[in-house]
Structures are given as structure tokens and as C-alpha cells.
């Protein structure tokens, strides 16, 4: 699997993402500067987490208008895979690659902790390494992860099985208490219509090695490797 990690000014989890992609695929990702207008020939483009442009104005808003975004749009239109994590998710919604928006956490505070996610769709390019309904642990670290979309958009997401990950408790129940940011329907990760673009708030890339104390984020990268090989 060949991949690229996009680097915007202020992004700070690009190294974490690159390490996870390399671990799963055995191939070092290309690091692509936001001012580029072309992508190298890759299967997967990752938009990592961080604070692109300091999260000023709105999270992801300025990055979503960067030159490299046209190339990412074309890559997605060709059916190439795109994964956006945290700030990357915010950037993809701002760029219109995914529906909805991420609002301020309901607590109004930055939240960094381990949460549980239920895999609600295990038949995607990003989740096929998990069992359907599996409960996995992942860290979160964000101040604005509160997923919002209008009723119609949410109904479509739900109807089409495009909610891939949902915040839940150890038993797999989605409860208010298990939801760290107040997202609509406890949504943690969603897919575009075509199924080749995923956005998620949690950071699977920081849970991939035994030394991390948990490797339950690894499946997302393994899923991509499988999907690309298929």
C-alpha cells in the first residue's frame, strides 16, 4: 500500500500517522506539503490531526482551501482512499468531502482520554479488520469533535450505514456518559457516499504498538492494506 500524509502548517500528528501507516504497510508514506498541487501515485491519502492554521477562524477551515485540496478531491473522485483523523476529519468536512461539521465539545473543554468505539459497519475499506459490533479502545484529543449535521444528512448517513464508529461504553452501549463531546447519535466516524473517504475524531494512530499499551487502533490501517490489496 502506497500512501501520502498531507502536511499543513500547524498540523502536529503527521509523524504519528506516518509511523502507523508504515507499520501496517511496510512502506514509508510520502509527506506532502500543503502548497503542492499534485499528489504522488498513492493508494491512500491521510489528512492527519493537529491544529492546521492554529484552528483559527474554524477548525480545518483554512486548510480546506489550500492548494493540495484540489488534488485530494481528484484522488477521491478517482476512487482513491482518503482518511482524515481529528483535524483531518474537520478539514474533510470543511472541504465538502464529508457531510456535516464538528462543533465545540459540549463540555467546552479539550478532552484527552481513552474512549471506546463500536464498529457499526465492518464492511468498509477502513474497518474490515474488525468484527461487526466490536468494541475498540482509542485515544481522543480534541476540543471540537462534536459532530453535527442537519436531520436529513444524518438520516442519510444512518440509512446508508455510513456511520462507521460510534462512542460507546464497555458493553457496546451508546450512552451520553460514554460520549466525550456530545456528537449527534454519538457519531465518531463517518464515510462518504462512495465509501472511499473516512473521517473520524479519535486517534487510531496512537494505539498501534504494544508499547502504546493497546493496539486496537491498528485495525484501521490493516483494513486499508487489505482493501488496497483486494
Amino acid at each position: 500500500m502506497k500512501s501520502a500524509v498531507v502536511v499543513f502548517p500547524g498540523i502536529n500528528r503527521e509523524r504519528d500517522m506516518a509511523k502507523a501507516l508504515e507499520l501496517a504497510s511496510g512502506v514509508k508514506p510520502h509527506m506532502i506539503w500543503h502548497a503542492e498541487t499534485e499528489l504522488p501515485d498513492v493508494d491512500v491519502v491521510a489528512v492527519p490531526g493537529g491544529f492546521s492554521y492554529g484552528d483559527y477562524l474554524r477548525c480545518g477551515a483554512i486548510a480546506a482551501r489550500a492548494p493540495i485540496m484540489d488534488a485530494i478531491q481528484r484522488h477521491a473522485a478517482r476512487g482513491g482512499y482518503v482518511i482524515g483523523v481529528c483535524n483531518g476529519f474537520q478539514i474533510l468536512t470543511e472541504a465538502g468531502l464529508l457531510p456535516g461539521a464538528l462543533l465545540r465539545n459540549a463540555s467546552l473543554k479539550f478532552a484527552c482520554k481513552v474512549v471506546r468505539l463500536r464498529v457499526d459497519n465492518a464492511e468498509t475499506a477502513f474497518s474490515n479488520a474488525y468484527a461487526a459490533g466490536a468494541v475498540i479502545r482509542n485515544p481522543i484529543a480534541h476540543g471540537e469533535g462534536n459532530y453535527f449535521a442537519d436531520a436529513e444528512a444524518v438520516a442519510r448517513l444512518e440509512g446508508e450505514g455510513r456511520v462507521v464508529f460510534r462512542y460507546c461504553d464497555a458493553a457496546g452501549e451508546t450512552t451520553m456518559a460514554a460520549d466525550p463531546n456530545g456528537s449527534l447519535n454519538h457519531i465518531a466516524g463517518i464515510l462518504n457516499e462512495r465509501g472511499n473517504v473516512l473521517g473520524m475524531m479519535p486517534h487510531p494512530e496512537d494505539f498501534v504498538e504494544p508499547l502504546h499499551g493497546c493496539t486496537e487502533g491498528r485495525g484501521i490501517f490493516d483494513s486499508l492494506v487489505r482493501a488496497v490489496a483486494a
Binding site: 477562524l57 468536512t93 470543511e94 462543533l103 465545540r104 453535527f148 442537519d150
Partner: protein, 79 residues
């Protein structure tokens, strides 16, 4: 020419900041605060003196960057 753009969350989008301010005001003893909404204001200094051109430009700026119309509405005022 000076312009002011006000960006507010759409009705129907939850505004936890507004709610928090309302709560804090009431615990500080201010009564009769019925609703609070928080938004952004962006003051822009433009080179042009042509109000129509300015308005067109500002509207384009809002559409392209300053507001996210999925969740926000905006209002433009020229000074």
C-alpha cells in the same frame, strides 16, 4: 472602507458557549437573562471605497471562507 461581518450559529444548532455564558450570568446573580447566543465578529479594512464592490467581495469571502453555511449564518455591515 471598514466592514463588519457577524457570524452566528444557525437556529437549531446547539450553542453550548451561549448556554454556558447564560448559566454563568445567572450564577453571578444577573436575573432576567432569557437567552444568550455567542458568535464571531470579523472586522475587515478594505482598500476600496466602492460600497457595491466591497459588498460583493465580502459576500464571496463569507461564502468561500469566513462562514460555514452548514452551521452558520452571516451578516455584512459596511461602516
Amino acid at each position: 472602507m471598514k466592514a463588519r461581518i457577524t457570524v452566528m450559529l444557525k437556529n437549531g444548532v446547539l450553542d453550548p458557549q451561549g448556554k454556558a455564558i447564560q448559566g454563568a450570568l445567572s450564577s453571578l446573580g444577573f436575573s432576567g437573562v432569557e437567552d444568550v447566543r455567542q458568535g464571531k465578529v470579523i472586522e475587515i479594512e478594505l482598500a476600496t471605497a466602492d460600497a457595491d464592490a466591497a459588498r460583493r467581495d465580502l459576500d464571496a469571502m463569507c461564502q468561500k471562507l469566513i462562514a460555514n453555511t452548514v452551521i452558520e449564518t452571516y451578516r455584512i455591515e459596511l461602516a
